[in-house]
Symmetry: D2
């Protein structure tokens, strides 16, 4: 079986601008995530960042990507629309997409959801307890009932998303909020997973349970069927070819 | 516009057996809920209990019921299967069904869901904070972001239900759990709403926010279309009648 | 009860450019639909067209619109993005949206769906039989099993949409195709209904069953809850205000 | 990778009672399906029938079954409820279930759906054209736009099912009807696929496209996660164990 080709896309702004963040993620968040995934023999992992030409997402590269992981925050607006178009097309064709944390407000996630994707938030380094709503789900393999992140940014409901196909995780926050932290959708041929944890100022992506969930999500989101994208514009059907009455 | 005909069904066992529970609900939980609903001029409210003939749910009565509210707990197994059949048929035909608290394990709810409907629980009189996931939803009118219940039984995920069409409320519990407390489904023509709060030992159904949600849910669940139930067995279509090629 | 405020939006290009189309719809398709709806006392109906300033959809007007009906075809690209933004925001806030026929490819529909919305098609004036999949549904009131349109453009699967919340109608075409012709979604607070029939060269919107479906859909799509739109950017929650542990 | 263990369950009544049906399926329909699947090295295929002890579905056997295929028709009521309970439990635990044709009215399918599962039908040996709604879907691999079955029983809408998670196929019938012929749901951990074709009097299960769909569906329905079934009754959570505030 061929390897699942994963690209971890990082905005890579916080880590370059702030010494505090660089202390948490010296190589950038994308590299932290990529290194953790690369331990898995069945994945072929690489990274891409906002600063690269075409944000590292040239057409040819996307065509060879099975699953794209997306972390963005302060620079959502710097992502070019033509790249967003391209990523959307690839998702509808079958590429898996995993959107992390503040990526809820990325162009690509809002484009695919069609809704506001907004939420409430607070930065207070509080405890997050991530509950499993769907035991036995492929994304939850190795997770036992719940896991805790000692200090995280809080995200709270209401989360402005279309009803998920499956809600895999819901978070409990020390300060009194709840949030649908792990949500699945299918759009076209592509599987989409939103996963909440991962504020830049906490070492969340070093935590084993978080790495486990992302690894499981890559496997879940990898294309199952054959690539397919309907042509644009619509297909005109010749009556001769089809009509048989 | 004619009134919405609501029947509040109560198992009515705890209140008769336990003096402690009777102190909380001297007239039974069903009467507490019914009285609160009856304040609304657009509802015609009555009650039914397990102990009545046919559990108070004779065919003729169900045919004149727009929305049925269900509270049961220790006596789920005493509900006769033929009555469950009848209620299911009416829901599929268009009657709204509101299932409260421990009704998650009732025969009728499990019948309509097809799943285990199980959950985790703890009785410790802890604080519940019920968050609104879907502001502006008809069931949430008058609820502002969240409301709190000072002491309740805890219900926690995983909740063994099919993915809800809409998740209106998620609860946060003081002890560290979360729960999808307000969930909507449609089955056949019938709208179904599960609402978590209401353990028998706490005066939850006297709380204004809880009464507001149940009142809203009655309006939401009331039949919109025309009654319809497919006959059993299947309909055989005459080729003469239909075929027109 | 106050009236449901309906705006029928018409691209109004075919009718002005082609004499053949003008013969079918002398006052434009939007006026044909509006007149049919206006027979209903509980609706306050008006029209808007592409050619008007802001396409007839000024902010103030949208704020006073409960349900927007959309017919467009050859001029989708002439609809300004800022107007699409505005309509999308109002739908998420609670305004109903009914998208007709070739509106499947409008900016607003693609924006809300997040998918290609493409399909196959053929213009051969063939018979369409529209089957009811969901008897008793509010949108199907007055429709008996199925209805026929003597001559229509064919639209066929695959239809590139997210799984509908409810599939109310599926069409059978004489030439051998099928299509999900009546589909419901909810996005934010807004209800969305796509309805297939209505090619400009056929008098489809004069047909009573088609008028019945659109009238039902207006009632179904009218806002039920309170207007609500999450602010942009996200809401930051003060720890003092919320945190209570 | 270990093989997917498939059990093809056949009611096996028509084939024993009617010489006409026996001419079509001399070894029974279940053996026809099983032989076709057994050509695939990655499947371990066996059969079970109504007439065997426990209908061939002993607890130990079900525990070693990954995907169960179900064909039943005239003897739905002879299937014992305790066996239906057992199959339902295994599906919720993660076993895939493929329900064929008249199995729409089986106890197990109605149990998992919670609805009537009824439809309209006609036996007139007419042409069925099965359209693909979801190109690229794993269940549709190898199917090109549509395929035809020269003579089949007609099944028509309305089909009394909960909204499918995905509608993979819709059929067009020569006589003028349509039907959602390929539908996916998830219940608990189990994937469920309903596939319409296969009336006993036609050699449908010998047709390559039909065999392809069933083979694809087996792969799709095979368990992805870990087996999991919530205990009955609910789990009581000890406050000492969980509460950490």
């Amino acid at each position: 079986m061929s390897k699942i080709r994963v690209v971890v896309w990082g905005e890579y702004v916080h880590e370059q601008k702030s010494e505090a963040i660089r202390k948490v993620y010296p190589d950038g968040m994308h590299n932290c995530i990529a290194k953790s995934l690369a331990k898995n023999d069945s994945f072929a992992v690489s990274t891409a960042t906002l600063q690269e030409p075409e944000h590292g997402l040239a057409q040819a590269r996307l065509e060879e990507t099975d699953v794209l992981i997306w972390w963005g925050h302060v620079a959502h607006n710097q992502v070019e629309d033509r790249i967003v178009d391209r990523v959307q097309k690839r998702v509808l064709e079958g590429m898996g997409l995993i959107v992390l944390h503040s990526g809820h407000y990325s162009k690509i996630f809002k484009r695919l959801m069609g809704t506001t994707c907004s939420l409430i938030w607070r930065e207070a380094g509080e405890k997050e307890r991530v509950w499993l709503c769907h035991p036995g789900h492929p994304i939850a393999q190795g997770i036992d009932t719940y896991f805790e992140i000692p200090a995280e940014e809080m995200y709270g409901e209401p989360f402005g998303i279309p009803s998920p196909d499956e809600t895999v995780f819901i978070s409990w926050f020390q300060g009194g909020e709840v949030f649908r932290s792990g949500c699945c959708w299918k759009r076209g041929n592509g599987k989409i997973f939103y996963f909440r944890p991962g504020h830049e100022s906490y070492p969340t992506y070093f935590q084993p349970e978080v790495q486990t969930v992302i690894r499981n999500a890559v496997r879940w989101a990898a294309p199952e069927g054959s690539p397919w994208i309907d042509s644009i514009p619509n297909v005109r059907v010749s009556p001769e070819g089809i009509r048989q009455e």
